[in-house]
Symmetry: C2
Subunit: 365 residues, 2 copies
DNA sequence: TTATCGAATGAGACCGGTCTCAATCACTAA
DNA sequence: TTAGTGATTGAGACCGGTCTCATTCGATAA
């Protein structure tokens, strides 16, 4: 049984040195695992450390070394299964390379994101992985680079920030997903996404400051136009930023006279609320409404019918971006890399032909 | 535009002091926001800091103060919606009080948990919140106390560690859930939980080192016995530690001749796999098998039928434990508190009467 | 006019490590 | 025998802040 006389001050290198009757420098050498020491001194110091129950102060250590062994991660929403899975990918890669991870949540709010980045930098993390919530304001991300720490971007590219970036093939897969719907005969397809916007009205791509969201909308619109759908922009709905907001959007959509025959949801949280809303409106999937969502969330396979999903390689996304960052942390010098991971669509049972003869509704404007 | 001549070394208090033509001590006073300075000096220093783009080094700061403004959180599995929701509760409470959160994942492995605790202590977090994965080995948790930092326990109590603890009413709610099943006529109810054990065979409570798991099993067994079920211990299944393992357990359970008529799952991840397995075996819920699960995961309301769940106040759990810890961090002195939050059961459509006339299967032993 | 006082500031120790550089030592080669 | 060598060890500066204590200064009181 060890009893600590003073519980306030912790045991330091000097204490151990004194106990082992060597100099502070020598004790530090064996405790820190650097330099050379004789075997006798090593065992002496080690036993002294054990007796005193010495614990290194990582803070002091990383203050002198400038390294902390920590990777800072800022994600939009850790409760979104998409991010929590990506984070596992990051954590696994980090642990394998001997790094630890500090996690911060931005809630997709640029100010919170800035504060988180500031905090992590001031804690002297070795590198950062961020899912930028906006492409308009990247000053804080520039600061990271300026501070000499490597930065890597997850899921969202920033055109004018040339750093390691790993994204998925959003444009292409959005096109493929939309085409599935078009091929099934749908001509009134609504795309619902989470971008914060006034009134959930979509005007043009200029409003969209997140690359992944933008690419998906582009892909969606391209295929719609290609299918001869007139002004598909009217069918893009923004503002599904929370379950409550999504419910509002969904309700408005489903109770409208001009109800879409198919919906494409930009993440599983949105899809879930839409699915619930469809049920509540007494509608059936896919007989009344077809549904496809991004992210193969666990629930999508247990509904009746199971949902057709865009299955992004989320774990790999996290793992790759972490590996890219770690390679740089280990001293690798190279031009920033932009990885785009291929994405697969899992067709299940939520897509069918449109309920009635397709009416290409026209609204004069 | 600011251009940094040397990007390696960062701007320090001394640099600002020199620029403002005051002493380091004075500059530190205004930059650190302590002590007294004249208004003129304050503005001088502030402008100098702005010109140089000074950023405080939190590491150095917390080395001297001993405080970091960080709460360390160690959870079992951040991908489990239960934990990610609890973490949101913690984060919200922390942010409101001006604290930041560092998250670490233990994967329910005691060694990883120990390493995480060690890391967080060495990073000098102000306090810790832990969901202990084992009650057998709590030496590392004792160490936290010894290091003078407050510790609070989340979701799992430790009998011989007297610290702030917030749990839910596991025993009682397990009894209520089991009673719902018993009242529906079930006499062959299986309880599936995630404890790591050889062979997934349950012998006795001595095997169970997690208080919440233990209480639930106790509650389950008590009600079963009360209902005249003979040796209900045989119906407890351990080892559902991952989707794969759960699938094995479920398959074995469902393909056995002596198939249970109802299943109680200890978390939503387990329930999901069981639900999938039930489907794959061509069985129906609740006609062939009734199902209740702990945690009101989002998917439980969209299945057909929706699942009856034990709805723990998860967010409140996280929020309360963080608040308890923060009060202590702010200097409040009081005896450790043990909060037990009440839990509610949401009855949906996954419970019905047992399929056939109940056969109380007897195995001579 | 001079002693007293409080506010503002400066000098320097300190936190707990790392790391450079010089000193010491045993031992080998000339 | 003695200079030369490499391996160990010790002394002390340093990282970037905080904080104690002494000093300076102007203003007020005696």
């Amino acid at each position: 049984m060890k009893n600590s006389t003073q519980k306030t001050r912790s045991v330091t290198v000097s204490d151990v040195a004194r106990e082992a009757k060597v100099s502070k420098a020598t004790a530090a050498r064996v405790l820190g695992g650097y330099g050379v020491v004789s075997d006798k001194v090593r065992t002496d110091v080690m036993t002294a450390a054990k007796t005193l129950d010495y614990r290194p102060n990582e803070l002091a250590r990383s203050m002198t070394t400038g390294k902390s062994g920590i990777i800072g991660v800022v994600v939009g929403d850790i409760e979104n299964p998409f991010f929590s899975l990506a984070v596992r990918g990051i954590t696994d890669a980090a642990r394998a390379a001997g790094f630890n991870v500090i996690l911060a949540n931005s809630g997709e709010q640029i100010e919170v994101e800035k504060a988180a980045v500031r905090l992590l930098i001031s804690k002297r993390v070795d590198g950062l992985i961020v899912t930028p919530s906006e492409s308009r304001d990247v000053s804080h991300l520039r600061d990271i680079n300026r501070s000499g720490r490597p930065l890597a971007l997850l899921d969202r590219a920033l055109p004018d920030l040339d750093v390691d970036t790993v994204t998925v093939d959003d444009l292409d897969v959005a096109m493929r997903a939309t085409r599935i719907l078009v091929d099934a005969g749908h001509r009134h397809i609504t795309y619902v996404t989470a971008v914060d916007a006034e009134g959930s009205e979509y005007q043009d791509l200029g409003q969209i400051y997140t690359s992944s969201v933008r690419e998906r909308i582009e892909g969606f619109l391209a295929v719609c136009r290609d299918a001869g759908i007139d002004r598909p922009e009217r069918y893009v709905r923004l503002g599904a930023t929370s379950p409550e907001e999504t419910r509002k959007v969904a309700t408005k959509l489903l109770s409208s006279l001009d109800r879409p025959t198919a919906i494409l949801a930009s993440d599983s949280l949105i899809a879930l609320e839409i699915f619930k809303a469809i049920r509540q409106h007494g509608l059936r999937v896919p007989e009344d409404i077809s549904l496809i969502t991004f992210h193969d969330a666990d629930w999508t396979s247990v509904t009746t019918p199971p949902i057709t999903v865009v299955d992004q390689p989320v774990y790999a996304l996290g793992k790759s971006v972490a590996e890219l960052l770690i390679r740089r942390l280990k001293g690798e010098v190279r031009a920033p890399e932009r990885l785009i991971l291929p994405t697969v669509i899992i067709e299940r049972g939520s897509v069918g032909p449109p309920a009635t003869a397709t009416q290409v509704s026209k609204i004069s404007g």
